[in-house]
């Protein structure tokens, strides 16, 4: 009996190690790891004229967090691929322009330790558009090549328009303002 156990132990160890390696390089785990750096709290108490459904609330939380994760990835790695799905319309356009500008000038941005206090201020009667206010805090790092030229903890107020797609909410407008 004990011999069998001894024989199984290395096999289990190898299987666990392989599984760990596979998971470590899987996109799903990377997304989760990146997601964990983005904290989002959503307040729907002042939403109107339509009340936010609980399913929608969960969707907004999930998709807004995903959008900021995607944006951070895009602006750090200077690729537009992460923006697909999470952003549309004008927001996607200026983010793509930002990435193109960074590629040209050799700059990159990092959004670290993100915290977003999100509040729904308008939810259309037919549920086809939502306006939110986001008081976000993060550590913003600007790099020129490998040199950090700016590193600051910032508080930024964003006015956000989100619209529902087939399976998720996308950010159409992301506009910083001095205050709400």
């Amino acid at each position: 009996m004990s011999r069998t156990v001894r024989a199984e132990l290395p096999i289990r160890f190898v299987v666990a190690a392989i599984a760990l390696c596979v998971l470590s390089f899987s996109p799903g785990l990377k997304l989760h790891a990146a997601d964990s750096g983005v904290q989002v709290q959503l307040n729907t108490k002042n939403a109107g004229p339509r009340a936010v459904e609980s399913l929608t609330e969960r969707g907004i939380l999930r998709d807004y967090r995903f959008a900021w994760t995607s944006m951070a990835q895009a602006l750090e790695s200077n690729t537009v691929d992460p923006l697909a799905g999470a952003f549309s319309g004008d927001a996607k356009q200026w983010l793509s322009q930002t990435v193109a500008g960074q590629q040209k000038s050799g700059l990159s941005r990092r959004y670290l330790d993100q915290n977003h206090q999100l509040e729904v201020v308008f939810y259309a009667p037919e549920g086809d558009v939502m306006e939110l206010h986001d008081t976000s805090q993060y550590q913003l790092q600007i790099r020129d090549g490998n040199t950090i030229i700016h590193d600051e903890h910032v508080v930024v107020h964003y006015v956000v328009l989100m619209t529902p797609g087939a399976d998720r909410w996308a950010i159409r407008q992301l506009q910083a303002v001095p205050q709400f």
Binding site: P49, G101, E126, I142, D144, I149, V154, Q175, V177
Partner: protein, 288 residues
């Protein structure tokens, strides 16, 4: 040149050649408007690197301190927060906001595209003013909503935008037909088309008579309670109850009337319904 300045920046940052580097100071605009030129004044002397980062812009240029850095309209097209950084020895940064310009476009969403007449709170619309660069205009504006049918005004309301959005909700009119829903702001006007259709049938009445093949039953012209003709294709259900049992026939309205041929040799009672609306009952005698 940039590499040289970066080297200078590193050397100055470490304090190795602090005497060579002139202190830099600069002032960003107190307020800037999207798509308008702006400038950043600098003090000091010597060459430096200037960075401008904002929504849609990531610019890096060499500048001479002591002069003004011109920000072109295309650099400030997107409203939002901008960061200006000047590096010489150390890097200094200042942030400023660019606000949206005046409204140049009005995004207008209207629901539904087809609506039954005389239905309370059935029509809603949402309008967002944007400037010419597609920035949401957050300053308060008056948006006029208007419903017209064949140039006859049905309803209108002026609504002030709040957080860059204005909206309305109202009931549908009494007459079937096309309705134009318009949102306007100063010279901007965004029309949307909506179709008002008849509501549920009202006073659904049938007549019937025996024919050699059975009973021919048909409705009178089907109208809703406001007198609008119920659209063709609306289904009407005829139900015949007699000694042989019960049978139903679904028939669509064609040219305002629904017809059905029913087989029932004995005395028969026929009733009619469309959706949740019940009509009259008729009794037809047995086949001679």
């Amino acid at each position: 040149m940039s590499r040289l300045l970066q080297l200078c920046a590193v050397l100055c940052a470490t304090g190795s050649f602090a005497g060579l580097c002139s202190a830099q100071d600069f002032h960003v605009p107190d307020s800037a408007v999207a798509g308008e030129e702006a400038s950043i004044s600098t003090t000091g002397s010597g060459k430096a690197i200037f960075y401008l980062l904002g929504p849609g812009v990531s610019r890096k240029t060499d500048i001479t301190l002591g002069g003004e850095v011109q920000l072109a309209p295309q650099d400030l097209r997107n409203a939002g927060d901008y960061l200006a950084i000047v590096c010489l020895g150390t890097c200094h940064s200042e942030s400023f906001y660019v606000s949206a310009s005046k409204p140049a476009d009005l995004t207008f969403l209207v629901h539904p595209s087809r609506v039954p007449v005389a239905l309370a709170d059935a029509v809603s619309g949402v309008a967002f003013p944007f400037d010419q660069y597609r920035n949401l205009v957050l300053a308060t504006e008056n948006v006029n909503f208007r419903l017209t049918a064949k140039d006859v005004p049905l309803w209108s309301r002026s609504v002030r935008t709040q957080n860059g959005v204005a909206w309305f909700r109202t009931g549908s009119g009494k007459s079937a037909g096309p309705v134009q829903v318009t949102a306007s702001l100063d010279d901007l006007k965004t029309p949307r088309a909506m179709q008002q259709v008849a509501s549920d049938p009202c006073n659904l009445r049938i007549t019937g008579q025996r024919t050699p093949k059975g009973i021919l039953v048909q409705t009178e012209p089907v109208h809703d309670c406001a007198g609008n003709v119920v659209p063709d294709g609306t289904m009407v259900t005829f139900t015949a109850t007699g000694s042989a049992g019960m049978g139903t026939v679904d028939a669509p309205i064609k040219q305002g009337v629904a017809r059905a041929q029913m087989e029932a040799p004995g005395p028969t009672t026929i009733s009619v319904a469309s959706g949740v609306v019940m009509g009259n009952e008729i009794r037809v005698g047995a086949q001679p």
